[in-house]
């Protein structure tokens, strides 16, 4: 009978409340139990942001805060300036669309480029990329044939 009235008035079943409470408490348990993970996350955050601006690494702070329905990550990373200390390294996984390194590609021979679609599985591993300027292109790829896997040019000795 209680069940009926609870449903009638839209009261949340206690099992749903229990699940939600557990989800939150376990999330914060895990965060507080893994200080090394939080430290690694903080270092990675600093590293990523440093690619775009100069940050005050010594005064960075990453904390987690329980909110009503979620746990929020609060990162306080002081920015010292926008000048980049060095050119940014390309991210490990190249974005699918138009990597800048392809600017010199139109020189590629169309005849050679047509070989690309038949061998999509032979795409080079993402780790094959090198930061900085690519060497010459031998025309084995064309921009519009890239599926993201081959987003950045492979190192080619010139």
């Amino acid at each position: 009978m209680f069940e009926f009235f609870n449903r009638l008035f839209g009261t949340k079943p206690s099992s749903a409340t229990a699940k939600e409470r557990l989800r939150l408490v376990l999330l914060s348990d895990h965060l507080s139990l893994a200080p090394d993970v939080v430290e690694a996350l903080k270092n990675d955050l600093i590293e990523v942001i440093s690619r775009y601006c100069e940050v005050d690494a010594a005064n960075c702070d990453v904390t987690f805060e329980r909110q009503d329905k979620a746990v929020a990550m609060l990162a306080n990373i002081p920015i010292l300036g926008m000048q980049r200390p060095k050119p940014p390294a390309p991210p490990p996984a190249a974005p699918p669309q138009a990597p800048p390194g392809l600017a010199d590609e139109p020189a590629a021979s169309p005849a050679l480029a047509t070989t690309t679609p038949s061998v999509p599985e032979q795409a080079p591993a993402p780790t094959a990329k090198v930061p900085g300027k690519p060497g010459g292109s031998n025309g084995r790829r064309r921009r519009r044939k890239n599926n993201g896997v081959q987003g950045a040019p492979r190192p080619q000795p010139t």
């Binding site: 079943p13 099992s15 229990a18 699940k19 348990d29 895990h30 139990l33």
Partner: protein
């Protein structure tokens, strides 16, 4: 061939670790496996009582470790099942009476004489817990659908993962009618939250109290609903794919009530 050495643990006390260890052990022994149950709860021994062998204890785990008796002398053979034995804990000592290394040695030795060594772990995550898991090659985490039991189970799972021990979950004392009305977490909720593989679902059953009073594991009661469930768990441990019956689908409720597990 060395035995599988499974520790039954939960973090929280009172969720049914000892009862589960005794009954899974009895079910395995009933199916013909040679089983040794180890009570690792030194100072608070109870496995002997649940199995009804409390009057036959001569030596215990600590005396084995201290070299005061042979391992075989301390093992109590069950009178109902000849391939089931129990190594009782010491009652008058505490958890520091043995070390992780000693416990690992004893369990390894036991592993040479049977198919399954089942270790009943004390509550908590301190010394007694570390001892109990020291000799294990896998773990069964026993929990109930309550917030405190699940939080503790999560903590224990974290500890077991650190050790690299493979683990599976038994959700104990589920009440299908409460799950159905939304007043109790379902088995799916529990496995979702803990992200662990399930090996058993045991419904809450008053009969357990009665059989425990008598010192007879319910897994050995011929017509018991729970005996069938523990038998299924034993088969899953043996690698058999025994399907679980969902306890939460409302339309199937009547059918499920008799077939949980």
């Amino acid at each position: 061939m060395s035995a599988r050495r499974i520790v039954f643990t939960s973090g929280k006390g009172g969720v049914g670790k000892t009862t589960t260890t005794a009954n899974v052990g009895a079910a395995l022994a009933k199916s013909g496996k040679r089983v040794v149950l180890v009570d690792a709860d030194i100072g608070l021994r109870n496995l002997d009582l649940v199995l009804g062998v409390e009057k036959r204890i001569v030596f215990d785990l600590v005396e084995v470790v201290e070299g005061r008796c042979q391992l075989r002398q301390a093992l109590i053979k069950d009178k109902r099942l000849e391939n089931l034995s129990i190594l009782p804990a010491a009652q008058t000592r505490d958890k520091t009476a043995i070390s992780e290394l000693q416990m690992a040695e004893v369990t390894a030795q036991l592993g040479e004489m049977c198919d399954y060594v089942l270790i009943d772990c004390p509550a908590g995550i301190e010394h007694g817990f570390r001892n109990a898991i020291a000799g294990a090659t896998e773990a069964i985490v026993v929990t109930t659908p309550e917030v405190s039991a699940i939080r503790d189970a999560d903590r224990v799972i974290g500890k077991l993962n650190e050790r690299g021990l493979p683990l599976r979950l038994i959700v104990n004392r589920i009440r299908p009618e409460m799950v159905r009305s939304g007043d109790m977490l379902s088995v799916e909720d529990v496995t979702d939250i803990l992200a662990a593989e399930l090996v058993g679902i045991v419904p809450d059953d008053e009969e357990v109290i009665d059989t425990t009073n008598r010192g007879e594991p319910i897994a050995l009661s011929p017509d018991s609903r729970l005996a069938a469930i523990y038998a299924k768990i034993a088969r899953r441990l043996e690698g058999e794919l025994v399907p679980f019956t969902s306890l939460t689908t409302p339309g199937l409720f009547e059918r499920l009530f008799g077939k949980a597990g």
